[in-house]
């Protein structure tokens, strides 16, 4: 773990440059460029509001768009990071085969580029907040607590899937399906209170359950963090990171032979 911190610090410039490179490539050749990072959540909000207020209002909540976005933004970060992370080693095979480079920079860069996206998408969220006259809760100051736990969980996943995908390319395909399913079993488009009591236990096995809850409390409800919830976030986060990094480290010297 100390090694992880030390290497992250040592290669910070490289990680940052790779993350920016990824963003540049993502938005290259589009007229609006980086604006898409802001526009995407806006357009999504329009769709959500339309669908859930007119077509299926039964699970709707007041200011439903904000209700959903408060968890959808962290979810998008999580899902995108994992897909990018899983491809990060295989996709950089060219590099790994020709230059000596610390392998951990690739899953890290996948995380950082999506983190930039997440932070950018807070801007349209604020605009929407103002537009819908939803109160701006002071509990936003607790967001970093939830965000850090989310980062730990995501980073662990990135490491794990990046390594696994080197050996079995099927992983990234399977991951896509799993993420889809995962989306629906996480309280994003519905409230966690809607989960029938007898199934609660299963939903609580999902690490994202706690993290997303934390985001919703701070942004939408304006309530203080639930400390047991925070605790669960960090237990999941640390477990994810330790397992993910352990697996990654164990196999990183062999990546070059399999990519």
């Amino acid at each position: 773990m100390i090694e992880l911190c030390r290497d992250t610090y040592r290669y910070r410039e490289l990680i940052w440059a790779l993350a920016l490179k990824e963003l540049k490539i993502r938005y290259k050749r589009s007229v609006l460029g980086f604006l898409w990072a802001l526009l995407n959540p806006m357009l999504l909000m329009l769709v959500l509001t339309l669908v859930f207020t007119t077509i299926m209002p039964m699970i709707s909540k007041p200011h439903y768009a904000i209700f959903v976005l408060s968890t959808l933004i962290p979810w998008t970060f999580f899902a995108q990071s994992l897909s990018y992370g899983a491809e990060s080693i295989v996709g950089n095979a060219d590099l790994i085969k020709k230059v000596r480079v610390a392998k951990l920079v690739f899953p890290m860069a996948a995380l950082v580029s999506n983190m930039i996206n997440l932070l950018l998408s807070l801007i349209p969220l604020l605009l929407i907040l103002v537009a819908m006259k939803h109160p701006f809760h002071w509990t936003w100051i607790f967001l970093p607590v939830a965000l850090f736990a989310l980062t730990l969980i995501t980073l662990g996943g990135n490491f794990f899937f990046a390594a696994a995908n080197v050996y079995y390319r099927d992983i990234s395909h399977i991951l896509q399906i799993v993420i889809q399913l995962w989306f629906y079993v996480s309280p994003i488009i519905y409230s966690k209170d809607l989960i029938p009591a007898k199934y609660q236990i299963f939903f609580k096995l999902n690490p994202m359950y706690y993290v997303l809850n934390e985001f919703r409390l701070s942004i939408y409800d304006g309530l203080l963090p639930e400390w047991t919830n925070i605790f669960a976030c960090y237990v999941c986060g640390l477990a994810s990171l330790v397992i993910g990094f352990y697996v990654f480290r164990r196999y990183q010297d062999e990546f070059v032979f399999y990519t």
Partner: protein, 263 residues
């Protein structure tokens, strides 16, 4: 030069590869283990029990036929592969030019690639920004420096890659047949720079098929065959030995000045 310090020490290095014959990297492989169907592969030793010490200030040319393990040996020294057996100790910074434009992204501009490339080699951003102008001047590709490098010709590509690798002032420069691409004018510029590199006491490892290059700039040559070091010594003698080794196995002798052998 005999008393200058050893900067590269390769001791009994063997590099083994698993060559998988069909359908690698898939869950099928996993299933096939359950069904006891063996995945076909063979182990291949690209470098066998090689030992080599290079002192600072030496220019070592590595020669041998295609598939003799030259590039693998360079990659082991550059730290791309961890050897299956034996160990490698390197003192000082390395700029590897293993292949043209490794670490260059086609969508990014030349300028952006300079930074990424330098960071990948382990140099700091500050250092790269300081050297940026010198790199651009040496590469001499004009306006193209602001264009995505996918639009470069292979010559421009090579100019930029060579400029980055040599301008960062590494202690050790590793080159794998990269010089063949440039035009004669740029090649002359490269050789001039290599000569100055050598004079300032830096170490160069170079793989080439041009015996003229070997005899012109190298102070020592190593002949690899089937992963083994067969000869190590004065360039002219080793080159002669290499050329002679082809006769007898082939109907006609190998050309002295082989044209660019890059695949």
């Amino acid at each position: 030069m005999m008393d200058s310090p050893v900067v590269i020490r390769v001791e009994n290095v063997t590099q083994r590869f698993r060559v998988i014959h069909e359908r690698p990297d898939s869950v099928r492989e996993l299933f096939s283990k359950f069904f006891r169907k063996k995945v076909k592969y063979h182990d291949f030793e690209a470098v066998k029990d090689a030992s080599l010490s290079v002192r600072s200030g030496e220019v070592v040319g590595i020669i041998g036929r295609n598939g003799s393990g030259k590039s693998t040996l360079l990659k082991v020294i550059a730290g791309v592969y961890r050897p299956s057996a034996g160990c490698v100790t390197v003192t000082g910074t390395i700029a590897p030019l293993i292949e043209l434009g490794a670490g260059m992204h086609p969508e990014l501009t030349g300028r952006e690639n300079i930074l990424i490339n330098g960071l990948l080699m382990g140099f700091s951003k500050q250092e790269m920004l300081r050297r940026e102008q010198a790199i651009i001047d040496f590469a001499d590709i004009g306006e193209f420096i602001e264009a995505p490098i996918k639009q470069y010709s292979s010559g421009m590509f090579m100019r930029l890659a060579f400029a980055v690798a040599t301008e960062v002032n590494p202690d050790i420069l590793i080159m794998d047949e990269v010089l063949a691409v440039g035009d004669f004018e740029f090649q002359a510029k490269c050789f001039d720079r290599l000569r100055r590199f050598r004079e300032s006491g830096k170490t160069i490892l170079i793989v080439t098929h041009s015996m003229a290059q070997i005899e012109e700039i190298c102070s020592r040559a190593v002949f690899l065959d089937h992963g083994r070091i067969l000869a190590d010594g004065a360039p002219a003698e080793v080159a002669a030995m290499y050329l002679k080794s082809g006769i007898g196995e082939h109907a006609e002798p190998i050309l002295v000045e082989a044209p660019s052998a890059r695949a």
